[in-house]
Structures are given as C-alpha cells and as structure tokens.
C-alpha cells in the first residue's frame, strides 16, 4: 500500500510554465481505492470460503465438471458471446427470459414453504370468505351503484362472511351436520351464525383436498388474471384462450406422480405460466429481439442435458451440504440429515408479520409527517427522534419487544375487573411468531418511515398544486397523486428494510425465540425459529461437521434469501422507473 505521503517533489523548473505537483493527489486517490476494495475483497473471501464449505466443489468427479463444461457451459457462453457481439438488446431480452423462470421457481418455493405452515383447509376457508365480499364489490360496480351503497354492502356482507351475523353468536348451532337435503336450512343457519371460515373448517364434511384447494384459490384467479392481461394486449378471444390454457395446465398435473399434485400446481402457476407468457409475448411483439430467447433456451437445455449425461455415465456431483433435502428437512443431531426447514419457514413467516405491521404503520406515519403535520417544534422533535431511533441498537428493540408485547409493560399476569368480569391480562407467548415479528417491526419502522418520507418528498409540489387547483381535497390529492407517484420509492425502501430484518438476531433472542425447533410455527402464537438463530445454534455444536459444513449451508441459505429480497427491490424500482418516465 502506498503510504509515503511525504513525497513531494519540487516544482521549480527553469523555463516554460513549470509543473504543479500532483503526487499527494495521486497517493490520496490510490489510498481511497485500497480503502474501497479492502472491505469488498475481505467480504468476498469470506463468502467464497463459506460457499466452498457449503457446496464442497472438490468432492465431485472431474468427469462431472467436464460433462457440464461440454453440455452446459460452452454452448451457453458461445451463444452469449454471439448475442453480445450482434444484438445487445436481444441479449438483454435473453437474460430477462432467464430471470423469469428463475424468479418463478423462487416464488414457487416461497409459496410452498408458506403453505407448509398454513393448513390448506384453513387457507381455503379464509379465501372463500374473502371471495364473497370481493364478488359483492364487483357486482356493485357492474350495477353502477353509488359509492355509499357499495361501501355499506361490502362491509355488511364482508362482516357476515368472515365473522357471521353478530347477534347470532348466542344462537346454538348443532355440532355436526349431515349432508342431506333436509339439513340444508340448518347448514344455512350455521353458515350465517359462524361466518364462512369457521363453517367450512368445522361443518363441511367434504373439505376439498390440498390439490383442489389450490386449484380453486390459486389457479382460478391466476387464469382470470392472465386472461385479463392478454385480453388487454391482444383480443378478447386470445384472453379466453389463455384462461382456458392456464386451467388446462393446472388440471393436467393430476396425472403426474413424481411430486404431490399440489406442489406441481404451484410450480406450474408460478414458474411455467409466466415463462410461457413471456416467451409468447416476446415472439409475437418483439420480432427484432426474439433471437435473444436462444440464450435461456440453450442454458436450460444444456443444464438438462448435462444432468442426463452425468446420470447416464454414473458420475457423482459434489456432495454439497446445501441441497434440496437440507431445505426441506428438520434439524436433527446428525449433520448428514439435518435441515433448515423450520427456521426457513419461520423466517419467511416472520417477514410476513413484519411487512403486515411495519408497512401500513410506517407509510402512514410518513404520509402524516410529510403531508399533514404542520411545521412546528413538536413535529421537528418527532422528526429528529425518528432519525435517532433508526440508530438504536437492535438488542434494545428486543428488550422493548420483550417488555411491551410479552410482559405488557409488567401487567402480564395481573387481573383486572371490568364491569364485574375479571380478566387476567396476558402478553403474547414468549418467542411467538407475532412477538418476534412485532419486535423486528419496531426495529425497521424508523427506516421505513424515513425512506417513505424521502419518496413522498420527491413528488414535485407542482403536482400537488395542480390537484388542489382542480378542487381536490387533501385526501384526494394524497390518494390520487402523491401515493401513486411515490409508491416505487416507498416499496424500494421498505423492501431493503425487510432485507435487513431477515438477518436480525438480537431482537429474536430477547423475545426468546427458539434457536432449535423441529416444526415450523403453525399459528401466530406458536414459538418460532429463524435462520440467523439456527445458524447461531449450529456454530456451537461440538460436531465439526456442523460447525463447518452445516453452518456454511445455513449462511448460504440466508444470503440467498437476502439477495432475493434485494433483487425484488431492484426489479420494482426499474419497473416503475421505466413506467413513469
């Protein structure tokens, strides 16, 4: 490293303009370069080490590498170079075309992990209940009813659908109902009394199985959505055709046997359908760049070909610690069979809780501070303290979560009597999904608020003036002008904050989340584990294989989750940037 900053040449020269010494500047420049690179290089070395530990590339046959080199890498690189030299736009389309199925597979994996924690019949019951007010809303729109009628209808029907007729809680309903013609009135009565979710879960004897549940709740909306998109771009007839094709694709997975039909259905919907849509649309509408689709095609075919060849030739790939089994099995005492599944599901569900709680609160606070709050000493005080809160150590937020959500500020376990009835206060269960998620929400709330404020502040004031000048109220201006314009920035900031939340460990330790748990949480009040806690647990096990192999696999899993979240943020930002300008 060049540190000799004292070197300073004399600039005296005999004739001409002379020279001005730049040595200090040049030294400074290279010191900065070293400073920039040192962090990146050391982090890169660490991650490479971790990846080598997790994947163990040296355990594979040389022939395995040779096969993939010939079948997969060489054709891909050749096609990539060909496109790069001929038509860069086509290459960009090709990379995009590769990204779509990969993102689809990631999405499918996430959905599958989430559905693991949610019992499918509960899911079906709630979706059915939510579908009723949604249909009522659509009907009201079609009938052109006034906004007030529409709101009342949706609220009333929605309440009954979700929770049942309020007063009828006191009506006794039979415990079991036979499915006969005569019992239809009591079915209707039970439905009205309990609301759809409870009715379906406890009184419908023929609950659809997992596959049918997904068919109704996922494939049907997906078919309608794709049909709508295609209708918008093409024609009415193509839209119908697309909807039909999606349904047929969803139905045809009944006949396959390798994977459970429900799993295949989700894979088809999340990965195959978007990929097919992208490919067809590119071929139809962008003839100049459709050659770019060659790139993902060669990569996919090459990968499959390589897989088939190594299987035929009987060559072994690397015996990686991280593989499908690692992601789907539960932790155990054996390094070979241990897995990260409950922690992975726990982390994903924690993120769902974090998003659901911090997004509305954070965006709401940002809108208030930017659009409504007067510029007074106390708003400035709040503003200053939000910035300060963003820097509070996460362990402190953990303590806050423990005190607030689990101990209820010391009131948990105490009894209070209200109007004659005695109630025992109790906080959330220690280490529960809800308590952990809320503790992390507290942590990222200031970041969400600050980034949302930035986004809202970047909306030009001339747009607000235009809206007010048209006679819009403040609420109409916020809803129609400010939020639509700032939502990309808000989403980007929030998603990056979520990325940070994935790796948070301290708040989870403080709210007593599990660092070793063999089942994923099944309800909001169930004890949960999380990726960083599980990794922390493995780091101190006596078995060498845990500390080097399994730990590395866990770290790689965590980093992949983190990078996926960050790439969602990048995609969202790019999408809106091209749309808005």
């Amino acid at each position: 490293m060049a540190t000799d900053t004292n070197t300073n040449t004399n600039t005296e020269t005999a004739s001409g303009f002379g020279e001005v010494s730049r040595i200090r500047g040049v030294v400074f420049r290279y010191v900065l370069l070293v400073a920039t690179l040192s962090g990146l290089v050391s982090l890169g070395m660490l991650l490479t080490n971790v990846a080598v530990d997790a994947i163990r590339p040296f355990s594979a046959d040389p022939g395995w590498y040779a096969t993939y080199l010939v079948a997969f890498l060489c054709p891909s690189v050749l096609v990539g170079l060909f496109l790069y030299s001929n038509n860069r736009d086509a290459l960009a389309v090709g990379v995009e075309g590769l990204f779509v199925p990969i993102a689809g597979l990631f999405g499918a994996g996430t959905l599958l992990l989430l559905f693991e924690a949610i019992a499918f019949y509960v899911w079906f019951a709630w979706i059915a209940a939510i579908a009723v007010p949604a249909l009522v809303y659509a009907g009201c729109r079609a009938l052109d009813l006034s906004t007030r009628t529409r709101t009342i209808a949706v609220l009333v029907i929605g309440w009954i659908a979700l929770l049942g007729v309020p007063v009828s809680r006191f009506v006794a309903v039979p415990d079991t109902l036979p499915l006969t013609i005569e019992s239809i009135p009591s079915h209707v009565l039970t439905l009205l009394v309990l609301g759809i979710p409870e009715y379906i879960q406890f009184h419908v004897l023929t609950i659809p199985n997992r596959y049918l549940t997904y068919l109704f709740t996922l494939a049907l909306p997906a078919a309608l959505y794709m049909g709508h998109r295609v209708r918008h771009k093409e024609s009415w007839r193509f839209g119908l055709l697309t909807s039909a094709l999606v349904i047929i694709a969803a139905l045809s997975v009944v006949f396959q046997i390798v994977l459970p039909p429900g799993t295949v259905l989700i894979l088809v919907l999340a990965a195959a359908v978007p990929t097919a849509y992208y490919v067809v649309m590119t071929i139809r509408h962008r003839p100049d760049v459709r050659i770019g689709l060659l790139f993902p095609a060669v990569i996919v075919v090459g990968a499959l070909l390589g897989r088939a060849l190594v299987w035929l030739l009987g060559m072994d790939g690397p015996t990686a610690w991280i593989d499908m089994a690692f992601l789907t099995s539960t932790p155990s005492g054996m390094p070979k069979t241990t897995g990260i599944n409950p922690a992975l599901v726990g982390s994903l569900l924690l993120m769902v809780v974090v998003i659901a709680s911090s997004f509305p609160l954070g965006v709401g606070a940002a809108v208030y501070l930017e659009e409504y709050a007067p510029d007074t000493w106390y708003t400035r005080f709040i503003q200053l303290n939000i910035s300060n809160l963003a820097g509070v150590p996460s362990v402190v937020y953990g303590l806050l979560g423990l005190g607030l959500f689990i101990n209820l500020g010391g009131f948990s376990g105490q009894t209070v009597s209200i109007a004659g009835t005695t109630v025992t206060l109790s906080g959330l269960p220690a280490g529960s999904l809800l308590a952990g998620g809320l503790a992390i929400s507290l942590l990222i709330l200031p970041i969400v608020i600050i980034s949302s404020q930035e986004a809202i502040r970047s909306v030009p004031d001339s747009l607000r003036q235009a809206s007010f000048g048209m006679g819009a109220t403040q609420w109409q201006t916020i809803k129609n002008v400010v939020l639509p314009r700032s939502i990309p920035g808000i989403l980007t900031g929030t998603i990056l904050a979520i990325g940070r939340a994935v790796g948070e460990t301290a708040p989870l330790i403080m709210v007593l989340a599990a660092d070793f748990k063999v089942t994923p949480p099944t309800s909001l009040f169930d004890k949960t584990s999380a990726l960083p806690l599980q990794v922390y647990n493995w780091a101190f096990l006596p078995d060498e294989a845990f500390r080097h192999g399994v730990l590395a696999a866990g770290v790689v899993t965590m980093i992949v989750v983190l990078l996926s979240i960050n790439s969602i943020a990048i995609v969202v930002r790019n999408k809106y940037e091209t749309e808005q300008q």
Partner: protein, 312 residues
C-alpha cells in the same frame, strides 16, 4: 395564425423551477427588458390584419363584473405582497395582469381561488367576491370554491397518468355525472388537442411535448366546466409556436369562460386581453382599464414608463 409574426421579444423562459407556485414571485427569472411598446402597436394581428394594431377590440362585449375585489391586502409573513387592491373583473372575455417581477400579480390570481391558503406564511385581508359571494367568508369551503375556478400554472404540470385520466381527473374527484368519455373529448377539443391525441388517450401525459402538455392542463382545467379560468403565465415556459397556439386557445375560450391571465409579456396582454391591470412594485394596482387605453394612452405616468420600457 399561419402568418403570425413571432417577435423575438417573446419572453421564453427556460427556467425549471419545481415549485413556482409557492414562490410569491414565480417568474423572477423571466426577462422583461426587451419588451417595447412599439412592438406591441406594430406587430401583426393574429388574423393577419393590421387595422386593429394588434388589439382585440372587443371591449364592448365585456359583461357584468363576476369578480369584485375590495381592499385586498396580502402579507407573506411580514412582507406585504399586495396593497389595497380594488378591481372588478368582468364576466367573459380576457382580463390580463401585467407588471414587473414580484409585483404581486400571481399572488392576486391565487387569492381568487384561495390557493394562498396552502402557504402557511400567507395572510389575506379584504373582500373578494366571486359571483356575488365573498370567498373569504368563514362559511366558504376553499375546496368547493376551487371546483368552480379552473387554474392553469406557469409550468405544465400534467399528472403522471394517461392523457384520459389527466383530463378526467376533475370529473373523478368532483364525482361529476354524465358520460366522462364525451366530456373528456369535448374538453380536449376545446383545448385544441383532440386531433393530436385522439388515438392515444391511454398514453402517459408526460410523453407529450411542452406545448401539448400545457394544452392538456387547460383541458384538465376546463373539463369540469368552471366559471372562471385562472392562468398564471401559461405560456412563459413554452416556445413561440406553442405560445401562439395557447394564445389562440385563450381567445376561443374567452367566448365561454371568464379568463384571468397573468403575463410578463406585454405583447401577449395586448394581443389577447380585453381589460388589462398593471401592477407595479410594492403590490399596487396602478391602473386597470380597457387594454387599448392602457397601451395607447395610459393615465398614469408610471404605467406609461413601464410600458415604454423606461423602467421595470
């Protein structure tokens, strides 16, 4: 219009202020020094005829006063922006307000639809009636008031929405009954934009050129059918061709609406307005009369000095 002489002293402002409306002096960067009275009286009329010496000689068609201002005073914190403004703006026709930068003409315009309410520092004192009702009465809802008064700003500010949604914005927020498609088409026709955008109403309003954007903003302002149309230097950010299109448009809008326009450009005021108000530094209304009188034979020496370019 085709043989309209585009004089070089069109004040073409290229400033890109993001928030010109908050500024009590929105166009401080526009230059005025090249404005000459001789240009005003000799420039060719938009119809190609010169007998009217560039004036719109329609003062006889001016109707009853629709806006009556009585002793309007405006302060921004401690700075007085308008001093005792009293004027009657007639129904229909075009009323122009001219004057040097910072003389309060935009501030007065924003008093009419109470846009000054949005500025914390602004304080308005006095009476201003619109169609007989004092808009500063405590029972007047400024939002309801603004629904009856359209406004077009200095810098085109279409929403980042489709052309259709831009024009339909007022209809949507005001819950206007009727066939929105038809109203949008009519507004675009009146704003002389229909022929250019009829095939691409679902494209973003931001994809239009500057002059088209400003006409889109005018269409947006007139779509809910306001009684008065306020224009705050609507052409100062546009090139001469777009400016002349906007001027033609104002001319035709004046048949239906009361147009109040603030302008830096004296030729523009002379060409398009029936009445002209001259504001001078300190927020005073120095003279308010028929446009022809103001430009040919002003009563006030300071107005004459300003118009002949001796000061300003």
């Amino acid at each position: 219009m085709t043989d309209e002489t585009v004089t070089t002293d069109e004040s073409v402002s290229t400033e890109s202020e993001i928030t010109p409306e908050i500024d009590p002096d929105p166009a401080s960067a526009s230059d005025l020094e090249s404005d000459q009275p001789s240009a005003a009286t000799t420039s060719t009329d938009r119809n190609g005829t010169t007998e009217s010496a560039g004036f719109n000689t329609t003062e006889s068609s001016v109707g009853e006063a629709i806006i009556e201002a009585r002793d309007i005073n405006v302060w921004y914190d401690d700075v007085q922006a308008l001093t005792d403004i009293t004027m009657d703006i007639p129904e229909q026709g075009v009323t122009a307000m001219i004057g040097p930068s910072g003389c309060g003409k935009s501030t007065f315009l924003r008093c009419i639809n109470r846009m000054n309410d949005l500025i914390d520092a602004a304080r308005v004192d006095g009476d201003l009636s619109l169609a007989g009702k004092n808009v500063y009465d405590s029972d007047v809802d400024p939002v309801a008031l603004r629904r009856r008064v359209g406004m077009v700003f200095q810098k085109p500010n279409p929403f980042p929405k489709s052309i259709y949604d831009n024009v339909a914005y007022g209809l949507k927020i005001q819950d206007v009954d009727g066939d929105h498609d038809e109203i949008v088409e009519n507004a675009l026709r009146k704003a002389a934009l229909w022929d250019e955008v009829s095939g691409r109403l679902d494209e973003s309003g931001l994809e239009l050129s500057g002059g088209q954007q400003q006409r889109l903003c005018i269409a947006r302002a007139i779509a809910p059918d306001p009684e008065v149309l306020l224009m705050d230097e609507p052409a100062s950010a546009l090139d001469p061709v777009a400016t002349s299109q906007i001027e033609d448009l104002i001319d035709s809008l004046a048949e239906e609406y009361t147009v109040v326009i603030v302008t830096h450009n004296m030729q523009q005021a002379a060409r398009i307005s029936d009445k002209t108000a001259v504001f001078l530094t300190g927020g005073e209304l120095v003279e308010f009369d028929d446009t022809q009188k103001i430009f040919e034979n002003p009563d006030n020496q300071r107005v004459e000095d300003y118009i002949t370019g001796k000061f300003g």
